[in-house]
């Protein structure tokens, strides 16, 4: 789904392999390793003697920044220092922003002594690709954002016939190395379908060699079919890791596994298992709106989940989806016996068969009737689309049949009106 972050390790490797195509004098040391909790450092050093022969720099590689400020940066260390750093940090829980997670990847490279740090990044908008360059790189770039030069290059422009030098500040005697570097990098950014690329900082050594230090990148994953010779190769495509600390529950993993089996879409995120407002909404757009409405009406802290089913899922898959949500709602009845609500919502479907999908949900309700009653669950339904009459009738029937309170509304009730109605129960 469009723009996805990749590991710094993968980004550096990709850059190293591509940049020489456009910037032939670029020399990259290719000394780059990832240490995980399973890595045996001594074995690693035997295979990579530079670990013992050179000064080292190490840092986490799990898609979060501000590593220096968080004391997660090892600089100018020897192998023993690296060992101690790894031992102290890896496999440990840390908190980044408000998210807790386990540190599982440490990137190690040769330490490059440098006195000055430069900034470069590339972004895109509708009509342009934009180069952002600054002499003030490193951790202070944000404070010095007014010193960054932005060069917009209209899409379709041949960078080699575009005068970048004119648009940048005077680069002095670095012009002959920086301009080919920036142009080369730009072409890699374009050709490899990057959606974002930031090298902050990079250093320039005394013999005028450019060394990227910290790097962040996003690729447009929809373009993977165009890059089967690089990051989209089918044998080992580049990884798109989840954000730091993002762990899936077993229910979320289960829904993801059935989502992958079908052409339809089944999504589930649990926000708060103890909350009393649950949703099971058809359609990506409608699910956003139902969630919005609950939040807009001031009940965001009581919302238990976010998710959707769409794309005409089969009766069986819809039943599994419904069963998973019903099990979650009924897992822990409210200690004071307060009711929980389940909003089975949706707009007017284009082609999803309401009767077929509702047959699946009804079957799950029927099988879980005792659970639902025990947890005091009240169900509100609103839906339209092919076979809507039959589908909604099934819902009414099952409510009467098993004694679970189900209120059913059709297309003539505004889509989200069941939200305020249901919230009266809370």
């Amino acid at each position: 789904m469009a723009q996805k972050s990749i590991y710094e390790y993968d980004a550096k490797k990709l850059l190293a392999s591509q940049l020489i195509k456009y910037f032939p004098t670029y020399e990259y040391h290719s000394k780059l390793l990832v240490i995980t909790p399973d890595t045996n450092l001594d074995d690693l050093a035997n295979r990579n003697p530079w670990l013992k022969n050179e000064k080292l720099a190490a840092k986490p590689d799990q898609l979060f920044g501000k590593r220096g400020k968080a004391g997660l940066l090892l600089l100018n260390a020897n192998f023993e220092g690296l060992k101690a750093f790894v031992k102290e940090k890896i496999g440990k829980e840390l908190e980044v922003g408000n998210t807790k997670g386990i540190l599982e990847r440490i990137l190690v490279e040769p330490f490059v002594p440098h006195s000055k740090e430069y900034y470069i990044s590339f972004t895109s908008d509708r009509n342009n690709d934009i180069i952002h360059f600054s002499f003030q790189g490193g951790i202070y770039v944000e404070e010095n954002w007014d010193k960054v030069t932005h060069v917009s290059i209209p899409i379709g422009t041949d960078i080699n016939s575009f005068n970048v030098t004119n648009k940048l500040p005077n680069l002095g005697d670095l012009t002959d190395v920086l301009i080919p570097f920036i142009k080369g990098l730009f072409q890699v950014y374009v050709d490899q379908d990057f959606a974002f690329l930031e090298i902050n900082p990079f250093a320039i050594t005394d013999d005028k060699k450019i060394v990227p230090l910290d790097l962040k990148a996003k690729l447009d994953d929809t373009a993977s079919f165009l890059h089967q010779d690089t990051w989209g190769n089918l044998a080992s495509p580049v990884q798109f890791p989840p954000a730091f600390g993002q762990k899936m529950s077993k229910e979320e993993e289960f829904i993801q596994s059935i989502d992958e089996q079908t052409g339809a879409s089944l999504k589930l995120r649990i926000l708060n298992r103890d909350a009393r407002i649950w949703t099971m909404v058809a359609g990506g757009g409608a699910s956003v709106i139902y969630t919005d409405t609950i939040v807009d009406l001031g009940y965001g802290n009581q919302l238990a989940n976010y998710g959707e089913y769409s794309g005409d899922p089969s009766r069986e898959h819809t039943e599994m989806y419904a069963k998973t949500i019903i099990d979650l709602i009924t897992e822990k009845p409210d200690p004071q016996g307060k009711p929980k609500i389940l909003i089975i919502g949706g707009g007017i479907a284009n082609f999803t068969d309401v009767k077929a999908t509702f047959t699946g949900i009804v079957s799950a309700i029927r099988k879980s009737a005792e659970q639902l009653k025990k947890a005091n669950v009240k169900i509100y339904v609103r839906r339209g689309g092919p076979n809507e009459k039959e589908g909604l009738e099934l819902m009414k029937q099952v409510g009467k049949e098993v004694g679970v309170p189900i209120k059913v509304f059709d297309r003539y009730t505004h889509m989200t009106r069941i939200v305020p109605l249901a919230l009266e129960e809370i």
């Binding site: 469009a2 956003v288 807009d296 007017i348 689309g385």
Partner: protein
Amino acid sequence: MEDYELFDRNTKAIIYGLQANAIQRMLDFDFVSKRNTPSVAAIIRPTQDGAIGYHKVFWGSKEIVIPIYKKLNLAMKNHADADVIINFSSFRSAYSTSKEALESETIRTLVIIAEGIPERQSRDLVRIAKSKNKMIIGPATVGGIKAGAFKIGNTAGTIENIVLSKLYRPGSVGFVSKSGGLSNEMYFTVSQNTDGIYEGIAIGGDRYPGATLLEHLLRFEANPKIKMLVCLGEIGGLDEWNIVEAVKDRKITKPLVLWVTGTAAKILPKGLQFGHAGAMAGSEKETADAKNKALREVGVIVPNSYDDFGDKIKETFEKLQVEGKIDPIEDFEPPSLPMDYTMANKLGLVRRPTDVVVTISDDRGDVPLFSGVGLDTIIEKNMSLGYVIGLLWFKKKLPDFAQDYIEMVVKLTADHGPAVSGAHNAIITARAGKDLMSSLTSGILTIGPRFGGAISDAARYFKEARDKGMHPQEFIDHMKTVIQINIPGIGHRIKSVNNPDVRVKLLKEFVFTRFPKHPYLDFALEVEKLTTQKRNNLILNVDGCIGICFLDLMENLDLTEEEKQDVIDAEILNGLFVLGRSIGMMGHIFDQKRQRAGLYRQPWDEILFAD
């Protein structure tokens, strides 16, 4: 057509991809909207063989055809009046096909349905469209609709929904959203709260849609028939900020009711991707709350939540009515569309007699059934070919001796050398360079009264004689004086009493040991005793023996006299000969082909040229 209009009641489209359902839905919409002509001019199917084919569709209750082209350029040349292309090609090929359409002279509007087109490709298409002053709707969209005039592909769902949402005639509201999934809901909401949709567009859920929300709002602003604007925005991107600017600059002056969805993002985990690729806030400015606030501040009608969106639309419309700005709608009863046969059948509304009755097999399930027995069972239990023939020819699970007899006959008849008529013909045909099927049928076509026919003839006459209770001598006399032919199945060119045919010997042995009773063979052997007294080569020959033993086979099955006669009349005996001999004839054909044998010409010295 004015610049601000994309479609009218004469708009014709080329559909890239043979999307049968979408095409039929477009024509159904045309029909209920009382268009004079269908909105689909041509279809592109790059995988077809010929340059032009035809696709059948319904126009009301009639059928019409729409040409299918292999290449877009020919379609555009032949249908210069089609100025819309609806591109259903996949995300892999959508870029190149879209580019071709944009670069053409005739296409004015391009719709891209596919989801997952690389962003850089979408942006490049935007660049081309801009330079050529063309409109792109999509990617990642269901399309859009101009009420009563033109419907893109699957927009607005089923025809029932189109009628309920009054999309068969124009109202006064211009609607635009990112989402295609919610457009149906919104069309209905608008129809319930106003006089209906004039035009509705879903620009597509990607980060870089071909045209922005604002571009469509500006078209609606320019269109005097549109009295109010409704827009559903989304978290992510800055498009709504451009709307803020346009309202400030009075480029939009018509009442605009707008809601930006995604207000819940503030309580959801950071980085959670909403439904669309473009729906993620990268900065505070891209949040739904910030955009709703800014819009409200410049005078856009922004509800408090989606929940009162419909109410705000209603209030706004009623105000326009009070101000006398709304012209009365010319509504009409849309012509009802005949129900599809399959649907009517499902609902039990129609019935239709079938044309063909089949009683031996059924391939509709997971496994083909032969007379009720699954092919999987037949293979798993390693059932014989005779068993399969029993199921398909006799509709019976034949006992072992019958299965074995049939297989034995197939083997016995498999080949009789190259000189017999069938094999000879097959060889000549093969050597004339004809294919397997032609060569084989030319051989099979020689099977008849004089070649291979003795089997069924023998069965017929011997059956008649014995069933009438004739004595062997009586039968011989009857054949000589009444029927006036040699007895079929009796006599051999070479074989004789002293030089018996080994095949006959094997058959007789088999029947004596395996068949519980064999009255016809017994009778035939009595006949043979008499004929061989006359001449010693008047023996029961192999054809006769096969036919007569087959009569005994039937005696040992549970068949009535009528059923036995049916088997004979249906030419099942001929069938056994054709089946067996086909093996040999194909062998001869393969043999000739392997040798690359040249054309056969009968030598002159085999022919007497006479006056």
